[in-house]
Symmetry: C2
Subunit: 200 residues, 2 copies
């Protein structure tokens, strides 16, 4: 224990933990369930980790790795900002900004931990492993749930149709878990049926 | 996969995940590092999970279990409210309120998961296992760090002396990790030396 926790090492670790406090100030588009304000990326990350604790437990993925991935997945937003799902973005420019952010932020940590967290974030972004696909699915499912709980949330704000929702959320959730998408799809269909709004 | 993810099960899981969104509205005493507002218990739980990802990795504890414990440790506050460290409380009344909250909130989940998360929360509260002691240490270290980053934070607000800080934070942190307390203690000493305030 004492060997792995030198003063220099702890200084770097605490500097990183102080720096990422800023994730609490990155405001997303999603409303809280009680509609009192918009969600920030730190509490969003906690909520997603709880989604993983509950749903990954039932799936054939490494729950601990899914949780760790979701805890770090938005840290790059401290430098690069949040990129809302409903909107046009220069994907390459966003990716370049996020990579620079990952290098700077994880780079505050001791070298071995910087490499580990960078690899975890890159695995999430690449969406190739079962754990990354499951994590990506939860990252789409959570705002979907908040929107259905708040009379439409960002869908209502942005005039997003049922067809748009199925197209923007479906593939990512289904790639992570067909069971989750089957269930989420009924939430979406029920929402648009109840709302009596544009079904696209 | 399909067997473990029935519709009824997922309905209960989503009801729980919708209910715990309310942890984002439980405001704690601690300031954010940028002093823009006070911290809420959901983002606090994310921050603590990151502390565990960084520090438990170096310690002889099960990192995944420490993280899971910290993700759920404050969920009872949705019903029972936050109990600030600096203040007088009827410990038995607080414990009774929190136990009722744990029963109700975790009880929304399917029975097996309700039992697992209740056990995880009880392990944290009992502070007997190495993982629970480490988690408790981080739950004290994180507000200590925020206070030193913000010119005193809740210590300055409540006229808390250096002796009070050493007495209220030291034993819990040291029980989880002597290395962490050795380092945290120097942060406290430096803070009070720099502040030139009451050393108690
Ligand atoms: Ca996200």
């Amino acid at each position: 224990l004492s060997e792995c926790m030198s003063n220099d090492r702890m200084r770097e670790q605490l500097a990183f933990l102080a720096e990422i406090d800023a994730l609490k100030t990155i405001v997303r588009q999603s409303p809280l369930a009680d509609r009192s304000r918009r969600e920030n990326s730190a509490e969003h990350s906690w909520h997603l980790a709880m989604f993983a604790l509950v749903f990954a437990d039932d799936a054939t993925v490494d729950t601990a790795r899914v949780i760790q991935m979701l805890l770090v997945h938005d840290i790059v937003e401290i430098d690069a900002g949040d990129t809302p799902i409903h909107g046009d973005h220069d994907r390459q420019a966003v990716a370049a900004r996020e990579e620079a952010a990952a290098d700077r932020l994880f780079g505050i940590l001791p070298e071995d931990q910087a490499a580990n967290l960078l690899a975890l974030w890159q695995e999430f972004e690449a969406a190739q492993t079962p754990e990354a696909r499951f994590a990506k699915a939860l990252d789409r499912l959570q705002p979907l749930l908040l929107n259905t709980l708040t009379g439409g949330g960002t869908w209502a704000e942005n005039g997003v149709s049922e067809a748009d929702v199925l197209a923007r959320y479906g593939p990512t959730i289904e790639r992570g878990s067909t069971a989750l998408w089957r269930h989420a799809r009924t939430l979406v269909e029920r929402h648009f049926a109840d709302a009596g709004v544009d079904r696209g």
